[in-house]
């Protein structure tokens, strides 16, 4: 999707390449994500969606290509550095910190702003205490909204799969990112919970966050996403709304098939 004139794209991916041994997972992938939108990244298995997310978030390094976050080049940096620039991601499998309580999981996702040092632990306890109380309040609010309050003080490892997904959302909201990459947020989630997650995602966008979702549930994508990018064989093969994509012959052949859902 072409960004609206005068508006810097929240995310700009230009000619991105990545090979694993002989396999070209991503080859010449180029797309833009407009700010404050929800963009779906879809495509058949092996199309390179997850690799693209891994490259953008800094989990792995690209062989070639440019990635811009709000105009700033970020390619080649580490996952934690990229996160500190305001790009936060989730994973296909919920990656909670099992031995930390649910509340601790949420608080530990907040931007650290140099608070997490031994020095401050020993000599700035009052300031830390004030900050902790604020974070606890915010965490409690988020858990309340996601109906996780009853398990707030349980170890996160004891949650159900769906609850872990919700916890992931609470952590993302706590991290106050500029842009979020969600890698299959609905994997293993029941329809009721999926609706709740959908509301949480649109809520993120409405609060000014740019969202990119990798997702196979096309009904969900159509309902939730403002625009959709289709990947196939490591490159972008189409973009637009779902209605537009259904008319795109290449996309239909590669991914949607003739029985594409009409929401």
């Amino acid at each position: 999707m072409v960004a609206k004139p005068g508006l810097t794209p929240a995310l700009d991916v230009i000619d991105l390449w990545k090979s694993f041994g002989g396999v070209r997972a991503v080859q010449g992938c180029t797309f833009s994500v407009p700010p404050h939108s929800i963009t779906g990244l879809v495509g058949p298995n092996g199309a390179g969606k997850s690799t693209a997310i891994n490259l953008i978030s800094g989990l792995i390094k690209p062989d070639k290509g440019i990635i811009r976050l709000n105009g700033q080049e970020i390619q080649g940096h580490s996952l934690d550095w990229t996160s500190r620039q305001g790009l936060v991601r989730t994973f296909q499998v919920a990656r909670e910190w099992p031995a930390l309580t649910v509340t601790e999981n949420v608080i530990a996702a907040a931007p650290a702003e140099r608070q997490e040092t031994i020095w401050r632990a020993l000599f700035a306890r009052r300031a830390l205490g004030r900050r902790e109380r604020l974070l606890e309040e915010r965490a409690a609010g988020l858990l309340e909204r996601l109906k996780l309050t009853p398990v707030a003080h349980e170890p996160a490892g004891s949650l159900s799969g769906g609850q872990k997904r919700l916890l992931e959302f609470a952590r993302v909201a706590m991290a106050a990112p500029k842009i979020v990459l969600l890698d299959e947020p609905l994997a293993g989630v029941n329809p009721v919970l999926a609706e709740e997650l959908g509301r949480a995602i649109t809520g993120l966008r409405d609060s000014g966050v740019t969202v990119v979702i990798v997702e196979h549930n096309l009904r969900f994508v159509e309902r939730t996403c403002d625009n959709v990018i289709v990947m196939g064989a490591g490159a972008v093969i189409g973009e637009g709304t779902m209605t537009e994509l259904r008319k795109n012959q290449q996309v239909v052949e590669a991914y949607l098939g003739q029985g594409a859902p009409h929401a």
């Binding site: 891994n54 978030s57 989990l59 792995i60 580490s78 996952l79 934690d80 996160s83 500190r84 936060v88 991601r89 989730t90 994973f91 296909q92 499998v93 990656r95 909670e96 910190w97 099992p98 031995a99 930390l100 309580t101 601790e104 608080i107 530990a108 996702a109 931007p111 650290a112 608070q115 997490e116 040092t117 031994i118 401050r120 632990a121 020993l122 306890r125 830390l128 900050r131 902790e132 003080h153 349980e154 170890p155 490892g157 004891s158 952590r171 991290a175």
Partner: protein, 334 residues
């Protein structure tokens, strides 16, 4: 009888300190460090060469420095040097190595350290080691031998308490929480902006400093230190103490040290001697400690005082062993 309890009490305080140090690395940081005792030994040696008089006063004895400095300097010096060594080793080993690979590096480092210290006589007098360590503050206090032992016991307990409080403040702080998050899942920690390498390195150095301080107290307790004092078994015994007491729980670390490293060996001495083999006693002791660890792991897998209790009262196991299993069970992420 009182002197007996004062003596094993001192030993208990020192070993509890060492277990707390290992807990920083393994319990908090999740680093399977099999070379922990190298830092204890180095702490003892560094304290020795700082507080002992110059080696030239004794024929056939060689060691560096010999500055005859007060105990406080030796004690702090031991912590600083072991902290710096931790920084040097950790900055290489913790950067890219995880789990077993990191553990192998710690074993290799220990073997190198052991070989250098025992073979290179000019450093710490080789196999004969250092002996004749001073009695801290005795020059000021002028106590009799028995009263001095009681004083030293008190000194060790005060230092243990101070280190305990500092480590607890750190463990409960945002820093402690961040280190735990790296232990639990470092990719997730990085995804939320934490630098896993720096956090791991800090926990590793923290453990190294405590090991050095413990080594210094140990030096003045037994007044001599040589390579026979630190076999690889010592590190495993500290792990035994942590497993029994409760990994990642400071109270558990102290309880484990007292039970496994002091009370248990003392009690097993009461088992009547049998056979004519003089090794039977220590062997029975080692077997008994092994059985204790197995029984505790079977019935209280997270130790007597676990890091975290669930509301249902069910005890959770945690540790690098599980972490690996969880990662293996996960999808093809990273």
């Amino acid at each position: 009888m009182l002197q007996y309890f004062v003596s094993i009490g001192t030993l208990a305080a020192i070993t509890a300190l060492l277990t707390l140090g290992l807990n920083s690395r393994w319990g908090l940081g999740g680093q399977l460090d099999l070379g922990f005792y190298l830092f204890v030994a180095l702490g003892a040696y560094v304290d020795g060469v700082l507080t002992l008089p110059a080696a030239s006063t004794q024929p056939g004895v060689h060691y560096i420095l010999g500055l005859n400095l007060p105990f406080v300097v030796g004690f702090l010096g031991a912590g600083i040097v072991t902290g710096l060594l931790s920084l040097a080793i950790g900055s290489v080993a913790l950067r890219n190595l995880r789990g077993d690979y990191f553990a192998i590096v710690t074993v290799a480092t220990t073997i190198i350290g052991y070989t250098v210290i025992s073979q290179y006589t000019p450093l710490f007098n080789g196999y004969n080691g250092l002996y004749g360590a001073s009695q801290p503050l005795e020059g000021v206090l002028h106590l009799g031998p028995q009263a001095y032992q009681t004083f030293y016991f008190g000194l060790c307990v005060v230092i243990l308490a101070a280190v305990f409080v500092i480590l607890e403040l750190i463990r409960r702080s945002p820093f402690g929480r961040a280190v735990k998050s790296v232990r639990e899942d470092e990719v997730a920690a990085a995804a939320f902006g934490r630098n896993p390498y720096r956090l791991r390195l800090k926990a590793y150095v923290l453990g190294g400093v405590v090991a050095g301080l413990g080594g210094s107290l140990f030096m003045h307790y037994i007044s001599a230190f040589n390579p026979a004092s630190w076999s690889p078994l010592e590190t495993f015994l500290l792990y035994g103490a942590l497993l029994v007491g409760g990994t990642a729980n400071s109270f558990g670390a102290v309880a484990g040290a007292v039970i496994v490293l002091v009370a248990f060996p003392q009690l097993t001495q009461l088992i009547p001697a049998f056979g004519s083999n003089s090794n039977a006693g220590p062997a029975v002791q080692a077997i008994a400690i092994g059985l204790l660890i197995i029984v505790v792991l079977r019935f209280r897998p997270a130790g007597l005082l676990p890091e975290l209790k669930t509301m249902s009262g069910q005890l959770r196991t945690r540790g690098s062993w599980n972490w690996r299993a969880r990662r293996a069970a996960g999808s093809g992420e990273s």
